[in-house]
C-alpha cells in the first residue's frame, strides 16, 4: 500500500469516517484545543482518505480528530492525501499504525486492534510488529494480556483502573492461576515497584505458593552482599587489562577467578 504524495483540498461533505478507524474511544477529547491550534497554525499534516481523487465519497482512514476539528471550525474543505483502493485489512493497519505512534490512543483501542491483527496473521508476533512499526516485545505484551489476563484484569485495564505493567506482572507471578492473579492484582497498588518486582520473581520460582505467600515474600527486601577486596597494584592493573580485553566487568572476572580456585581446592562444590 502506498500513500500518494499529492495533497488535495477535499470538501468535508464528501468524506465519511471509516468503520476501520481504530479510534473508538475518546474521539471528542481535546477537539476544541486541536481546532484552536489548526486555526492558529493551519493543518500541518493532511488526513488520509481511502479511494482515489475525483471519485467521492471518500472514506477517512487516518485523521479523525483533525477532521472533527475542521467541523468545529466550520471549514468546508480539509487537506487530504489518498491511499488508493486498499483492502479493509490494509485500511485498518494504516489507521492503527498511524494512531499507535500517538499518545492519545487508549489501551482498549490498541489492545483490540493489535489482537485482531495478531489473529489475522496466524499469531505471528513478528509480522504484526513489522506492519505496525512496533517492537515485538510491545506486541507480545498486549497479546499476553489479552490471552492470559483474567476478565477482571482486562476490565480494570479498559477502565483505566490498573496499568498494563501491573497486569503483566500479575500474569507472570500467578503462573496460570486466575484466582491467584486476581488477588495479586488487588494488592498491586499497595506495593512499591521493588516489591512488585519481587512478586514476579517469587511467583515464577514458586508456582505452588498461594497469593498471600507470594505477597509476604515480596515484602521482604533481599540482601545482596559485595565483598570488598583489597588488591595489590599489579593484580589491580591485571584485572583492568583483562576487563578491557574481554569487555567483562572487573567484578565478574574476580568472581570467576575466585570461584574457580575455591572449586579446584575443594572449598566450593562443583556444579552438577
Amino acid at each position: 500500500m502506498r500513500l500518494s504524495d499529492r495533497v488535495h483540498d477535499i470538501p468535508l461533505k464528501e468524506i465519511d469516517i471509516s468503520r476501520f478507524n481504530v479510534r473508538r474511544t475518546g474521539t471528542r477529547v481535546g477537539i476544541q484545543e486541536l481546532a484552536e491550534s489548526i486555526q492558529k497554525h493551519g493543518l500541518l499534516q493532511p488526513v488520509t482518505l481511502r479511494g482515489s481523487y475525483g471519485n467521492p465519497p471518500y472514506e477517512l482512514i487516518v485523521g479523525q480528530r483533525r477532521f472533527l476539528a475542521h467541523r468545529v471550525l466550520r471549514r468546508t474543505t480539509i487537506r487530504s492525501i489518498f491511499c488508493g483502493e486498499v483492502s479493509d485489512r490494509e485500511a485498518k493497519i494504516l489507521s492503527l499504525a498511524e494512531n499507535l505512534h500517538r499518545l492519545e490512543l487508549n489501551y482498549a483501542d490498541k489492545a483490540e486492534a493489535i489482537t485482531e491483527l495478531y489473529l489475522y496473521y496466524d499469531r505471528d508476533v513478528r509480522r504484526v510488529a513489522q506492519e505496525l512499526r512496533l517492537h515485538t516485545s510491545t506486541v507480545r505484551s498486549y497479546v499476553k494480556i489479552e490471552e492470559q489476563g483474567t476478565d477482571k484484569a482486562k476490565r480494570l485495564l479498559r477502565e483505566g483502573k490498573v496499568n498494563k505493567t501491573d497486569v503483566r506482572r500479575v500474569v507472570d507471578a500467578a503462573q496460570g492461576d486466575p484466582a491467584k492473579a486476581d488477588i495479586l492484582l488487588d494488592e498491586m497498588p499497595k506495593l512499591t515497584k521493588y516489591e512488585k518486582d519481587r512478586t514476579v520473581r517469587y511467583g515464577r520460582a514458586h508456582p505452588e505458593a498461594s497469593a498471600e505467600q507470594v505477597i509476604e515474600e515480596a515484602k521482604k527486601p533481599r540482601i545482596e552482599t559485595t565483598v570488598i577486596l583489597s588488591l595489590s597494584k599489579d593484580i589491580h592493573s591485571a584485572l583492568d587489562r583483562a576487563s578491557r580485553k574481554l569487555s567483562i566487568d572487573r567484578e565478574s572476572i574476580a568472581m570467576t577467578a575466585l570461584s574457580e580456585w575455591l572449586r579446584e581446592n575443594g572449598y566450593l562444590e562443583r556444579l552438577a
Binding site: L44, T192, I223, E224, S230
Partner: protein, 229 residues
C-alpha cells in the same frame, strides 16, 4: 544564561534554538539546566506550530518532550533548585511534577539530601496516587525500606591485643558515620565490617583523600585502635 535566543524572528535564531536543544537532549552531559531547555522547547513549539513539529525537527519523541516540559509544573521553590542544577535529573523532575506543592518540596529535599534516588522517586510517585490517605513520610519510608539492601563487607586482620570491636568501630565511625556501619565483629583475629553503600563510598573517599589504598587505611585504623590502649 539567556532565557531566549538573542535574535528573535530570523532563521538563524530558529537554528540556534534547534542546535541548543539537540546539544541538550542528545548528550549525556547537558550544557543547560532543565528550566532553560523547557523554555526553548516552548519557543520552538510556538515558532514551528506544534510539538509534533518540534519532535520531528530535533528527533526527540513528543513523549520525551513532554517530560522536559514537566518542569513547568513544578512549584517555584523546586523550580529554583532545578534552575540552579541542584536537581538535574529529568526523571526526578517528571515524577515530582505530577504531585502537589508540599509533596514536591519534601521529595526534592529528600533527593538533595541523598536519601532518595531517581529510581526511588519513580517508585514513590504512583504509590502516592494509589495510597492517598497515607502520610507522605510514611510512603517515603515504605519505598526506602522495600528496597533490596546492598551491603559491602570488608575482611581484615586484627592482630591479638588490638583493642576490641567497640574501639575499632568508633575508629571506622569517625570516617563513615555511625549510621553506615551495619555490623563490625572480630573473631579469631579476623575483623568483619559490613557497610551500607554510602558507608562503602565514604570509606573509599577517605582512602583516596589520604592517597592510600583501602587496605592500608583499614590497617592504619586497626593499628590506631591498638595504640589507643
Amino acid at each position: 544564561m539567556t532565557e531566549r535566543p538573542q535574535r528573535v524572528g530570523g532563521a538563524e535564531t530558529r537554528d540556534t534554538v534547534i542546535a541548543r536543544l539537540i546539544a541538550n537532549t542528545r548528550r549525556r552531559s547537558r550544557p543547560d539546566n532543565l528550566v532553560q531547555i523547557a523554555r526553548w522547547i516552548r519557543w520552538l513549539e510556538h515558532d514551528l506550530g506544534g510539538l509534533n513539529a518540534v519532535s520531528s525537527t530535533i528527533g526527540l519523541s513528543t513523549g520525551m518532550l513532554q517530560r522536559f516540559l514537566s518542569v513547568e509544573r513544578l512549584c517555584p521553590e523546586v523550580q529554583q533548585l532545578v534552575q540552579g542544577r541542584k536537581i538535574d535529573i529529568i526523571n526526578v523532575v517528571y515524577y515530582i511534577s505530577s504531585l502537589g506543592t508540599e509533596a514536591q518540596k519534601t521529595i526534592a529535599q529528600e533527593v538533595l539530601a541523598g536519601r532518595l534516588t531517581a529510581e526511588d522517586v519513580r517508585v514513590l510517585a504512583p504509590l502516592i496516587r494509589s495510597l492517598p490517605n497515607l502520610p507522605l513520610n510514611r510512603l517515603i519510608s515504605r519505598v526506602r525500606e522495600s528496597k533490596d539492601v546492598k551491603l559491602y563487607v570488608a575482611y581484615f586482620h586484627v592482630p591479638a591485643g588490638s583493642g576490641g570491636a567497640d574501639r575499632l568501630r568508633s575508629r571506622f565511625e569517625s570516617l563513615v558515620g555511625s549510621g553506615e556501619i551495619v555490623s563490625l565483629t572480630v573473631e579469631d583475629e579476623i575483623g568483619s565490617l559490613e557497610l551500607t553503600r554510602l558507608g562503602h563510598e565514604k570509606l573509599r573517599q577517605a582512602a583516596r583523600g589520604r592517597g592510600v589504598p583501602l587496605r592500608r587505611l583499614v590497617d592504619s585504623l586497626v593499628l590506631a585502635s591498638r595504640n589507643e590502649r
